[in-house]
């Protein structure tokens, strides 16, 4: 069969995958979100009409709103923290480490991520609890007298998530730093730029596409995660996804849950569009990194 003729057939599995598992369920959820939660008997009855009620409930209730906004802001902070952690590591891996050491470092960073996310989050639990590693260390060093519990706070969730999604920032940053021609750095130094200005004028502008790609991924994951806030946040740091979860499983109100989920989806897409516009990048350029 000629390659050209084979192409439509090759497209069938991905299209089935995307259509059947992504587009159709999402459309079903979109439909659900515009309908009322009704007892089984009334389904299809006069009450069963399309309405924006669920979205209005979301907009009217300040509790929902606050959690929503807080989730978004926290996700932004997590993205920033992930960038601050990942950037020096990516720079070191791409431009400083050589040969065997680069490989070893890569392994050291990647190996923890072979472990399941829940298990990794448990590790943070062990670090942050009252009898945890962090407290033992601080007490031993005399910084604190009595152990403090860092768990179930915003800080714990942000730290845990920044770590959980750091790799998604690291790899695109590494890719863009890797192809940074080091003679550009030297040229800037030669023309009178010290390190901070080399960073600002040469290195950071160069890795904007990588940083945006990484930020989009980390933000999306952070805004939509359930595991880390549930484990590290407890009742102290409620995440919007937990509200969605509660609508679906506790209140069994799929319609309201769908409306929440859709609001989150629209927001996430808005974030991506905003980032791209802010840095004047096209999606294609970002996907390349």
């Amino acid at each position: 069969m000629a390659p050209r003729r084979a192409l439509p057939w090759l497209l069938v599995p991905p299209l089935l995958w995307i259509g059947g598992l992504l587009v159709v369920p999402q459309l079903r959820m979109l439909e659900l979100s515009f309908r009322r939660k009704l007892p089984l008997a009334q389904l299809g009855g006069p009450e069963d009409v399309y309405t924006a009620e669920n979205y209005l409930r979301f907009a009217e209730n300040p509790l929902y709103w606050k959690v929503f906004v807080k989730t978004v802001l926290s996700a932004v902070v997590i993205t920033a923290v992930a960038f601050l952690i990942a950037f020096p590591i990516a720079y070191f891996l791409a431009k400083v480490a050589r040969g065997r050491w680069a490989t070893r470092l890569f392994l050291a960073i990647v190996v923890p991520f072979w472990v399941n996310e829940i298990v990794r989050t448990f590790a943070w639990l062990l670090i942050l609890t009252e009898q945890g590693v962090l407290n033992q260390m601080l007490v031993a060093l005399g910084f604190v007298q009595t152990p403090v519990s860092y768990l179930y706070t915003e800080g714990a969730v942000i730290l845990g998530m920044a770590y959980a999604y750091m790799l998604f920032m690291l790899f695109p940053l590494y890719a863009s730093l890797e192809n940074l021609d080091f003679s550009l750095v030297e040229a800037a130094q030669d023309l009178g730029a010290g390190w901070t200005r080399v960073l600002r004028h040469i290195i950071l502008p160069h890795c904007v596409p990588g940083a945006v790609a990484g930020s989009i991924m980390v933000f999306m994951l952070a805004v939509g995660t359930y595991v880390v806030p549930a484990m590290l946040g407890g009742k102290g740091a409620i995440w919007f996804v937990q509200l969605i979860y509660a609508r679906f499983y506790d209140a069994l109100n799929w319609n309201l849950g769908s409306a929440f989920a859709f609001s989150l989806l629209v927001l996430s897409l808005g974030f991506v569009a905003g980032m791209l516009r802010l840095f004047r990048l096209s999606m294609g350029r970002v996907l390349q990194t």
Partner: protein, 391 residues
């Protein structure tokens, strides 16, 4: 054999010696500089002086240490031993951005996300110059490189030659004491390279900044430079004007590397009126002995293709020419000259060159020919210590 950077004292053909170098202020002094990487010595005990405002080339094959020297002058590398002075000031420990040098990189390293204007303005902005001053100076430099109207273009929109000129302008705008150029013409095609050679020299004449130019292309080095330093394997071989380097090489390496040369291995058997008598497999010749090799020493006799004269009469004016007999193997028409490959009786081949002046009679392939050269046009040099024989 150890060749130091002593300048030749008898310069038969040089228009000007280096004797005046000390009268002029030295812009760059490299004093006994050595650079080692572990067990590898990239640069070994090199001493150089570059006078103010001159076009100075460092010529050598890749891996000879010339780029290492340049990077040490620019401040990206520190010498393992020895010191570098720029404008009389010791540069040890001074980072690149505090040195009065500016480097034009091999691949130019124009900032890809900045316009031509921003590229050229970069150095001035780093010096916190006023915006009006920046505009004026960038304008001047754009005029110098005749790229007015290119301010808003991005590097990828420029041709090779234009990028070249922008890189030079970007380096010159900060008014460095010394402009360092790391084989900047390497990536250009032949025609453009010829053009840029002239352009570079013209720019240097206009700005009068000291240029230190790194190249492996002897044509570039000879054509553009006031002085050339030839390097091989981390060592300085010879420093001199292009004419001195070409006409009176002091080492077998320089004789081979700069221009084309014929080398005949032999042994000194005597002396005759200031010339050495060298016995080779191809005959016994009287040649110059610039290094004063003693009788009994072995060496290489060098004679350049254009110094070989066809015909049995020998070169006009030469009292006692050296003679060779051979047969024409091949002719290569090269425009300005015709190269002739002549096989000698011993089987060795020599290159000869005949200028294509009108009426010149060219020998035919297969024809038996006589060749002659004047003792003053040839010289004997010791073989290199590592046994590097005739190329």
């Amino acid at each position: 054999m150890r060749v130091t950077a002593v300048r030749p004292l008898t310069l038969a053909l040089s228009p000007e010696g280096r004797g005046s170098a000390h009268d002029v202020t030295c812009d760059v002094e490299v004093r006994a500089v050595t650079k080692t990487y572990g067990s590898l010595t990239a640069v070994r005990d090199v001493t150089l002086e570059v006078a103010r405002g001159e076009f100075f080339s460092i010529l050598g094959p890749s891996g000879c240490g010339k780029t290492t020297i340049l990077r040490m002058i620019a401040g990206f590398l520190e010498p393992t031993a020895g010191e570098i002075l720029i404008g009389g000031r010791a540069m040890h420990g001074v980072p690149p951005h505090r040195r009065p040098t500016s480097l034009v990189f091999q691949h130019l390293a124009l900032f890809p996300l900045m316009t031509v204007y921003d590229n050229i303005a970069f150095g001035l902005r780093m010096r916190k110059a006023a915006e009006a001053e920046i505009r004026r100076k960038v304008g001047e430099k754009l005029e110098l490189i005749t790229l007015q109207g290119y301010e808003a273009k991005l590097p990828h929109q420029l041709s090779g030659g234009e990028k070249q000129r922008v890189a030079i302008a970007r380096s010159l705008v900060i008014e460095p004491t010394v402009l360092l150029l790391d084989e900047p013409l390497g990536a250009l095609d032949l025609k453009l390279r010829e053009h840029m050679k002239a352009e570079l020299k013209a720019i240097q004449h206009r700005v009068r900044t000291t240029f230190i130019y790194i190249t492996h292309d002897q044509g570039e080095a000879l054509a553009m430079s006031d002085h050339v330093a030839v390097m091989s394997r981390g060592r300085l071989q010879q420093v001199g004007t292009p004419a001195v380097i070409y006409e009176t090489p002091r080492t077998a390496f320089v004789a081979h590397f700069v221009g084309e040369n014929n080398a005949l291995a032999g042994r000194l058997v005597g002396e005759d009126g200031g010339h050495a008598v060298v016995e080779t497999a191809e005959g016994t010749f009287r040649v110059g002995n610039p290094l004063g090799l003693p009788v009994g020493a072995s060496g290489l006799c060098f004679v350049r293709p254009e110094k070989l004269v066809f015909g049995d009469g020998g070169p006009p004016g030469a009292a006692a020419p050296n003679r060779l007999q051979g047969r024409v193997r091949e002719l290569y028409y090269e425009g300005v000259i015709v190269k002739v490959r002549v096989a000698l009786g011993s089987g060795r081949e020599l290159q000869a060159a005949i200028p294509t002046v009108s009426g010149a009679r060219l020998p035919a392939v297969g024809q038996a020919v006589g060749l002659g050269f004047a003792p003053s046009e040839a010289y004997v040099l010791p073989e290199e210590a590592d046994g590097r024989g005739p190329a």
